[in-house]
């Protein structure tokens, strides 16, 4: 059984935290629904699929333990992401293993959109739906964007989520995910490009 709720049921972080400290079950459910998927994404990006859920749950336990001391210097979202990232990095060191995440993402791939001279194989057309509002108003396209986002490799999804959705700075993202600036920018572009190509496919076939 699942139900849909308004993410703005609690006016702000302070109201949500106050309700959690009072033991309000709706507050806990709202917090978990809002932040747990993001925390799992961050953990996956750092340590991989196998440990991500466990790391995110452990991060919650630590966060709840110090919730009353949360001073609001950052948003609750940023605070939870930092706790998760730290837990994942600690676990990664303990496991002493190299985690292979976005398989071969550093490898130069052949991109069949271009010919051997580096020009576009096919003409790039102007989209018929050519405003973000028109795209998001189209249920199928909106669905395509969400699905493509969910299927991105963990590191791409984490960078895109932090940069384009959360508005974090690139330096903060590199710090959270332990990435170099150039790697983070490549991951960001690949993630955006994957979504652009899916939208293009839909618009070209329509």
């Amino acid at each position: 059984m699942s139900d849909k709720r308004d993410p703005h049921h609690f006016e702000n972080d302070a109201a949500l935290i106050a309700a959690m400290l009072e033991g309000d079950s709706t507050a806990f459910e709202t917090a978990v629904a809002l932040y747990h998927p993001k925390m799992v994404t961050i953990a996956k990006a750092i340590i991989g699929e196998a440990f991500a859920e466990e790391i995110a749950q452990d991060a919650w336990i630590s966060a709840i333990r110090s919730l009353s001391e949360f001073a609001g210097r950052s948003s609750l979202n940023t605070w939870l992401i930092q706790i998760t990232a730290n837990a994942a990095k600690t676990r990664l060191r303990r496991e002493k293993r190299q985690v292979s995440l976005d398989e071969n993402w550093q490898k130069k791939e052949t991109d069949d959109r271009f010919d051997h001279t580096g020009h576009w194989q096919e003409p790039v057309s102007q989209w018929e739906l050519e405003t973000p509002e028109a795209i998001l108003a189209n249920d199928q396209l909106s669905d395509i964007i969400s699905k493509t986002f969910e299927q991105l490799p963990p590191q791409q999804q984490a960078v895109l989520s932090l940069y384009d959705l959360e508005g974090e700075s690139m330096s903060e993202i590199c710090n959270i995910l332990d990435l170099s600036a150039s790697n983070a920018r490549v991951l960001l572009h690949r993630a955006r490009s994957a979504i652009q190509q899916k939208i293009a496919q839909y618009q070209d076939n329509d």
Binding site: G23, E29, S125
Partner: protein, 79 residues
């Protein structure tokens, strides 16, 4: 002269204003003469804004969410 493939690779950096002055000029020069790349950069820009505007109108509270929330609430009440 930049090739279309390089324009594709640099497009996010261009839109995020993360190119050096020289790279930016070379990028703009290519866009001036290549309508395919102009369309591509426009498509990417629309994509990025669409991603940023993805609505977060509702959250899904499923059984897994409720179970974790319950564990956390019980944990909090023990403190």
């Amino acid at each position: 002269m930049l090739k279309c493939r390089q324009i594709e690779q640099l497009a996010s950096d261009y839109l995020d204003k993360d190119l050096s002055f020289r790279q930016r000029m070379a990028f703009k020069l290519h866009l001036f003469i290549c309508h395919n790349c102009r369309n591509y950069v426009r498509q990417l820009k629309i994509t990025i804004t669409s991603i940023k505007l993805m609505p977060a109108n509702q959250i899904i509270v499923d059984d897994k969410t409720k179970a974790l929330a319950k564990v956390l609430r019980e944990n909090a009440s023990k403190q």
